[in-house]
Symmetry: C2
Subunit: 348 residues, 2 copies
């Protein structure tokens, strides 16, 4: 019997939050085979699918850094994938690569959507390819080193600091010699940041005294704010910015599902404190990925970057539910869906 491939397609644009079973539609199609492969293409199967806050933005029909996913189209996404067959010099059958395969089990992709295999450091794990060494780790790297540019002794605050991007950004700031404060959404994450990542301070934004503690944790104001949250936390950081502060605008998860945006009250600090607030998208740095990945792999190998991930079992079918829960802050570190079971993957 021919192999089947599950795929998850956008059914309707969500108004606020993603509703599993309503926002997306699951469909099983005949999987493509090696016989369908043309020159410059690869046949891949998905192992671990990346779930990212940015995905919510791809569902809105508005001008952004990528076109929105169309109604009826397979949901866009990156996965650690195994090459089944290849007519490209980029990877060979059996290689494990990161590919923009989307929410589907098996697919043929042009080589432009497939990254070359990357050797893991000795303590590396397969899932690091989508974590510290993947788009979220690279996002942290370029945002912190190119825009944030922390100097030894600088006061750095990272929001959503237990997330895939935030946890790497915070550790890069520590490596730079800065004093680093992270904000998170649970006491368990606070402990992880302070005890394992070595951050100088970590604060739970759900704490009723969060505002006071935020102020106390930034006694000399803030040199670098790496923002993954937006809204009220961004506003608080504007109010605590030091002269010539850099605001690395990476994400705004607090607002992604909001129907009406939070109105910043401290925008005038941008002028008074001469803040440079700069947005970026990791794609802009593609030519520099290899060098950045080498650096991240080195730090990972030296134990200077710790990581923790959340791998949701259950196959591609559970991806839409896991994606919707991402916005409730349940996961620590990188969130992946296991498209193939560990038994199958370990055989690779």
């Amino acid at each position: 019997m021919a192999r089947q491939s599950l795929q998850i397609e956008l059914a309707e644009r969500p108004k606020g939050s993603i509703v599993p079973g309503q926002t997306f539609r699951q469909r099983t199609v005949a999987a493509p085979t090696e016989a369908d492969l043309k020159d410059g293409q690869l046949l891949l199967e998905s192992l671990y699918l990346s779930l990212d806050p940015a995905m919510r933005g791809w569902l809105n029909d508005r001008r952004s850094y990528v076109p929105p996913v169309g109604i009826g189209e397979v949901m866009r996404g990156n996965a650690i994938s195994r090459v089944i067959a290849s007519k490209s010099a980029k990877a060979r059958a059996g290689d494990i690569v990161v590919a923009t395969i989307g929410f589907r089990e098996v697919a043929i992709l042009p080589e432009t959507l497939v990254e070359p295999p990357f050797p893991l450091p000795p303590n590396g794990k397969l899932t690091d390819l989508l974590g510290v060494l993947g788009p979220t780790g690279l996002t942290a790297y370029f945002g912190m080193t190119r825009i944030g540019q922390p100097k030894p002794g600088d006061s750095v605050v990272v929001s959503a600091a237990a997330g895939a991007t935030g946890s790497v950004a915070a550790q890069i700031a520590k490596i730079s010699g800065a004093r680093v404060v992270g904000t998170v959404g649970s006491d368990e994450k606070v402990r992880w940041l302070k005890e394992e990542l070595g951050l100088d301070e970590a604060l739970n934004y759900k704490d009723p005294d969060f505002k006071t503690k935020f102020k106390e944790a930034t006694p000399g104001y803030i040199d670098v704010f790496f923002d993954n949250v937006g809204g009220e936390q961004l506003d608080m950081a504007l109010g605590r910015a030091k002269k010539n502060a850099r605001f690395v605008m990476c994400g705004g998860i607090s607002g992604y599902n909001a129907e009406s945006p939070y109105g910043l009250k401290n925008i005038s600090s941008i002028i008074a404190q001469r803040i440079r607030m700069e947005g970026f998208i990791v794609f802009d740095y593609i030519p520099e990925y290899p060098a950045a990945r080498q650096q991240l792999a080195q730090w990972l190998g030296e134990g200077k970057i710790q990581r923790k991930g959340t791998v949701v079992p259950g196959g591609l079918a559970v991806a839409e539910g896991a994606l919707s829960r991402l916005f409730q802050g349940a996961n620590t570190g990188k969130l992946l869906v296991e498209v193939k079971s560990p038994d199958e993957v370990s055989k690779l």
Copy 2:
């Protein structure tokens, strides 16, 4: 009889708008004399006092780029002043200088608060010292050339483009070869920008179709937004920003008297369009003032920068009323109060 000097002191911090006769108190004191002068000081009399939107911010008791004016203190301000006597090498008796003399007629200042005399270009007027060649012109110069950096063909939008800073910023962008759109608050100002300053488009924000016209005036989106207004216009510009746009955060007059700030809806464009939004204060460029002023004087002399000012007669006593009207958008270009009458000034 000893000479008297009127001074205007802060009586109370305004909640919203400045209320003449309530926010300030007028007091006449004995004027200092040459006998009071110490080494490094100058005795000055005020001729034209500068009124600026930024003054509203100086009345709030919050952390900013300068300490707030204290209750009971003479209101801070710059004036074109005549040196009565000098014990400083910076200027001599009879020289006309710009000095941070505050809202008073006669004062002794340390030389650090006095700028050296500056030779006017052939077509220059005394009032240019506080206009094109003064802090507002310099603000336009550094903001546009250092942060905005328009290139030939760039699409530039300047808000409050008929103001002292905006009108110079818009013309510097034109000199750079950009396509320039200005926003203003009256049809008369629209005509001035299009017919005399040569802007490519000018829009009245009070026009009921302003939003549509703003969109139509920026068909290829915006490379540089020079903001003097904040609030809704800033939000519209964020929505029309081109990839890698530069937002020069100069002022936010729409919010200075507001008790609750406007909440930006399009802040996420900073990320999606990789916007660099940067605040600045002209004081940061003091070492570069002489070279910038030379450049501005050259453009003024060549007729590449046009200007129009509003000089309010009536002496220092009318300054608080004129300052409160500044926020109603009544003036075009630089707003000054004539502290001494033209007859007296023309004798200088």
